[in-house]
Symmetry: D2
Subunit: 286 residues, 4 copies
């Protein structure tokens, strides 16, 4: 999808339904000499619902600023929320980890191969274990130890490190609960991987509980983080078949592969601006 002379851009829009909105937006882009490459849209109700749209288009670099200015005007008329991004400007992703490395390594591997085209300005951890491997990829690693008493300070420190440096955060098996204060800084911009098929097994030790319940499939769920534990908008889920021979430990091992697959997929979609949030749900424009 490389463009020689132009700039590939993506526009996300949410607004109340209104007749003619699609042609209004496509006309707007045509007038700004933008060539639409891909268009996706969804509505909760074609008459009275909420409207969601994603448009990918080619546009000359010099006209994108003008387009952005004019969008402000258009948005007012339609009570739109909108987000414009360009491929030129890569998104910046912070990764939070604890001790487990599988999700981290999957993200790093997909970053290295450019399958997930992001920058990774830093990794933050409450443990030192993964410092060496992360730094071997030239990525700064910040070890911020954390106890119950120091949590507030630790989060403050993290916020300072992140400030102005990142566009979103991935919790790659980060085993700490973030405070509402922290989360409020990154609304719908923190992606967590939960090691169960939510809403089954919300909370701690899902694999042990899955083992005790005798389920025949285990799963993983990637979701945006909200103040309600494991209740945020789900981006992606997948499952893996297991059987009675699996111990709780075997579930954990097998589950790692679902976790990294699901998290990497969710991060890809987020980076490609394919996710829109509507209340506690997501619209994914695949």
């Amino acid at each position: 999808m490389e463009t020689e002379n132009g700039s590939s851009a993506t526009l996300l829009i949410t607004c109340p339904e209104k007749p003619g909105i699609i042609s209004t937006v496509t006309n707007f882009l045509t007038e700004h000499i933008a060539n639409i490459i891909d268009i996706d849209q969804h509505t909760t109700d074609p008459r009275t619902g909420i409207f969601f749209m994603r448009i990918e288009f080619d546009v000359e670099s010099q006209t994108i600023q003008k387009l952005e200015q004019d969008l402000h005007e258009l948005a007012k008329d339609y009570s739109m929320e909108w987000w414009l991004s360009t491929k030129e400007k890569r998104k910046r992703m912070a990764i939070f980890v604890s001790k487990a490395d599988h999700c981290l390594m999957e993200l790093i591997w997909r970053w290295k191969t450019n399958e997930i085209p992001v920058d990774i300005p830093l990794v933050i951890s409450n443990h030192a274990d993964l410092k060496e491997v992360v730094e071997s990829y030239g990525i700064p690693y910040y070890h911020i130890p954390l106890t119950k008493d120091t949590k507030e300070n630790a989060e403050q420190k993290a916020l300072e490190l992140l400030k102005g440096k990142v566009d979103f955060i991935v919790l790659a098996r980060y085993m700490q609960i973030l405070s509402p204060k922290f989360i409020s800084n990154y609304h719908n911009k923190i992606i967590n991987i939960h090691h169960s098929f939510l809403p089954a097994f919300v909370g701690a030790n899902p694999y042990v509980r899955a083992y005790n319940r005798g389920v025949k499939l285990i799963g993983a769920t990637a979701h945006y983080v909200t103040n309600d534990l494991d209740e945020g908008p789900i981006i992606e889920q997948d499952v893996q078949r297991i059987n009675h021979q699996y111990t709780a430990e075997d579930l954990k091992v097998a589950g790692r592969h679902v976790e990294r697959r699901v998290l990497a997929q969710a991060v890809s979609w987020h980076v490609e601006d394919k996710v829109l949030v509507h209340g506690n749900k997501t619209i994914i424009f695949q």
Copy 2:
């Protein structure tokens, strides 16, 4: 798996672990001129656990009675529970339905093609809707209307109809909760299909709740019925991918296909004596 002169039989065994148990049982069968065709076994712990075994074997029809007698002796020495079945004697399955026909029709279709080799002596329903279609297959249909007040009587009537006629019961989207008294008559012999990926969405209206939660996969679960609603031993589960375009009604429609697939699979395994129950879990010898 047809045998010309013999009788294909299946033996299921559960007992506490004890060294040499496998060779004891295989010797026992060899001594009874049984030719082992398939053997499966599982243990919760090779030293102190519970041992489970399934053996499929060919044996002359005239020796099976002697084999059965001798098994009683063997079982005492090992504190075994055991179940012996022969292919000659087909299992008898009652089906309970309400108004939805998809699970019922799937079972009937697989019964007609002999993919599920059972007899169906009767179908019982709290509604009359499916009477005609069931009877068109030559299967007796009993309509037992049921209100809160008449539930006890209705169950009593059903028990009388079933008595001595069936080996197990399938609730093919039967929308009534059975009483502990009824269930006690068919311990681990009632299979239910729940229209969610348990333990997510226990109870009523799982599709509406799945819709509201914004999950990306919906599922179905076949399980043995116990007194705890939707908490019985899980036999089979499966899922289907959905997306933001699905309404709650669409989930219901898409879910029907997972339900019938999952229920039919569970019934197949039950009929082929491939399921052993251990507490609240199942061992499936596929």
Copy 3:
């Protein structure tokens, strides 16, 4: 998706890429007081490729004729091929079968529940086996016996029965190869189910060949019929895990479930105008 006073319609378009085409079409619909509900589009190359679009919209019944007339004009300017359908006018589907009933019964079941909203004016078969069951649903059944020598006559007879009565044909495990002459009457309007994961096992006896090759998954493929056997545009495929315990006969039994699932899905998409053909490939607007 019911509309009270209006008519829900779907427009499919294929044409060479041209800047502004999306806004042209959306403007055209807006001018005809059509309210766009869903829009999907695809391009093989945003500058020099072929452009494909599907638009679902609400429109007053009385304006649809005018819209259709004006589309002819628009189409000329853009060298468009286009297809307009309305929900009011259900598609008419003929089913061809031989002896196996599983795909037929799946289609009939989904037709009865209105999951696949079509009319079925007739079923044609080279055998009499399924006459009774088909007629029990009130669907006319034509038994046209067929030998090598009578094939031409038989096809001629079928064409006469179909003439003016059906919009597309489904080969639901019809075990005869249609002549190029027959196919030319229903270009991209005949859907076949092949019982393998194409292009593996093109031709006869795919399950036996899958068994001999020792594959670990079997599959089924629904495709439009062309003159090249099993080479037509693929609409849908799916697979099922098997193992070394499966005999060739077991593969056949297990495969039936994939076949009916895959065929029913392909027919659904065709009926909902979600399939566009591009050379030997399909675009599916899910």
Copy 4:
């Protein structure tokens, strides 16, 4: 599955069917004070077929030598082929790679976490690209350049490096065809990953051909290498859903994840002695 005082061992057996074989073997093990933990068996025909068995058992380290000696005798009576392995003695795996790193990295990651409990004495490549990353894990890397003319020499060099050092070889996207001479040294001991769902797209460029054919699922196949290209016994296969939006390049990227999953699974089973080869097919005792 750790054993404190004993040694966990696995016995694989292939022989012609003979009545009583299972009890013979289980008795044999009981006499050698071996505690059977898991038993799996398969037969191509219970009377005249080939019999396959896998037994996992605990045994004292000092008795295993005697057991091995006595097995030679038993094997004669039954025309058995057999393989005995112990968990104490880890298998040694060589990896062959070219330039692509995804399969290599997956194996290394699962080796590091001990999910695949092997030793990796060396990696051999016809390119130097992956030298640094492999050596960073402390694994020796041998770069053996290879042209058409030097192939024989190169293979000879590789054979010398491997001699006495490895138990099996994994071709982790090694883009060279091995000679029959090389293969004869490692009969059923070379695992290859082919980037298609075999037997579809045998040979070169499967993703381009999958793209041109318009398939709706792409796959990967792990198999033992024989002299017939891509025709060896299949160990594992899996697929991934794609759609019309995928370019040939996208298929390649998406396919990488199936490839590493399928290859890692096949290697796991091989390492755990869960694979038996029968002609051109495999029996997998999961």
